[in-house]
Symmetry: C2
DNA sequence: ATCCATCTGTTACTAGCGGTAACAGAAATA
DNA sequence: TATTTCTGTTACCGCTAGTAACAGATGGAT
């Protein structure tokens, strides 16, 4: 039967694809973002051309990996924003969700965001899993998602759409940059970072006083 | 005389270095961030080993290029924050300065921030000017600079230092992500982007009303 | 049974990359 | 004049992403 045949083909192909993705993930978690296609193929117990037949190129493999994690993260964030509490608590929950995610799996985060770590750590070659600025797709997607949530739920008057998108991308960028810095330096516990960021979003810059000395801001 | 000799040596070496940097900049502006060491050497009219004698490795050449631009940008931002006006106007000026800079020289900006563009645009090889996530150094530096300005000028109570650093990195991240998105999509004139971002920092999230429909935020 | 198409997998290669060793000539020093 | 030092080259290494070409297996159609 043709349909059965087709279905079997697709099924085995998909199972293969899953295996390859899992192997790739293992290698990326072990070797960092500089994992090479050769290494991934070896880990999967096959050779390069198969990898290329399944994913086209290195970027395709990356994207397949990234989509999984990004989907999971987006789901968590949506859940946090759907919690039954007031606005500030929801924002705190969303920030905390993101930060908890990158704290829990920093290797995954680094892979998604940072093509290659410190160049000094990878002297043999940074020509690894670069694939053209990964972070942009992930960050842009998060920004767009947040923008739609904002536009759906908050009344922003005329140009509200535009405003929502600016805010979405801006807030995501704030979260990302602060999280990146915090993950590197770990200057304080997570809840305090969340608090500081929420305060900033809640108009901290307006209410704070100038220092007595200094030129003021 | 020995001193003269030394001085001449240093002088010629430094002039050479400048020439090489300018050649590198030309190539980067022409070929995008994927410029190769070979191409840069060719543009400078010499061969690779000379490049490596001057800059050590690709990362060294990148850093030399990046420091120039970053210095200039930091100076502009400091100037904007020193203007004699109220706080909101200063923040607007700083945002506008940054956005005007990336608008005026987007290639430079992309080079500083994005190791390789869309992978599909660079099929021949993305193993170009990656050098381990450029953006981090630049963004981290901007974040730290802003943090010190905030800490110097605003009274933030206990843990003010920590708060200032979180805010510094957060605001820089917001500016960067929003600017990156805006530069790609150009959905509105610059001044309106500045206005939206300032509104966000000025507590826009607090004062906005829930929409009548929808679950609210 | 046989032919044909298709899928899976391999080996062996290309072109280009970052980076370096080894050498050749010029210039200043002794 | 002999020697060091600087500038520059050619020719290479090991690595990468990506591909062409081929070798069996599998399964339906005649």
């Amino acid at each position: 039967m043709e349909t059965t045949h087709r279905q079997d083909r697709l099924s085995t192909a998909e199972r293969r694809r899953r295996e390859l993705l899992e192997a790739a993930e293992r290698v990326v978690l072990r070797d960092g973002p500089g994992a090479s296609m050769n290494a991934i193929a070896a880990e999967a117990g096959i050779t390069k051309p198969i990898l290329y037949r399944h994913f086209g190129d290195k970027g395709g493999l990356y994207r397949a990996l990234a989509v999984r994690h990004t989907d999971a993260l987006v789901d968590s964030l949506r859940a946090a924003l759907d919690a039954p509490s007031d606005r500030r608590e929801r924002v705190e929950a969303a920030l905390d969700t993101y930060l908890a995610a990158i704290e829990a799996r920093p290797q995954v985060y680094r892979f998604l965001m940072h093509p290659a770590e410190d160049p000094a750590e990878d002297p043999a070659g940074d020509r690894g899993f670069d694939v053209g600025q990964h972070s942009a797709p992930l960050l842009r997607r998060l920004g767009e998602e947040l923008a739609t949530v904002i536009a759906e739920r908050i009344e922003l008057g005329p140009e509200g759409e535009e405003r929502a998108r600016v805010w979405g991308h801006g807030i995501v960028g704030m979260m990302h940059a602060a999280g990146d810095w915090w993950l590197r330096e770990r200057p304080c516990p997570r809840e305090r970072l969340v608090e500081h960021l929420t305060d900033l979003l809640w108009g901290g810059l307006v209410t704070a006083e100038d220092r007595a000395d200094g030129p003021g801001l």
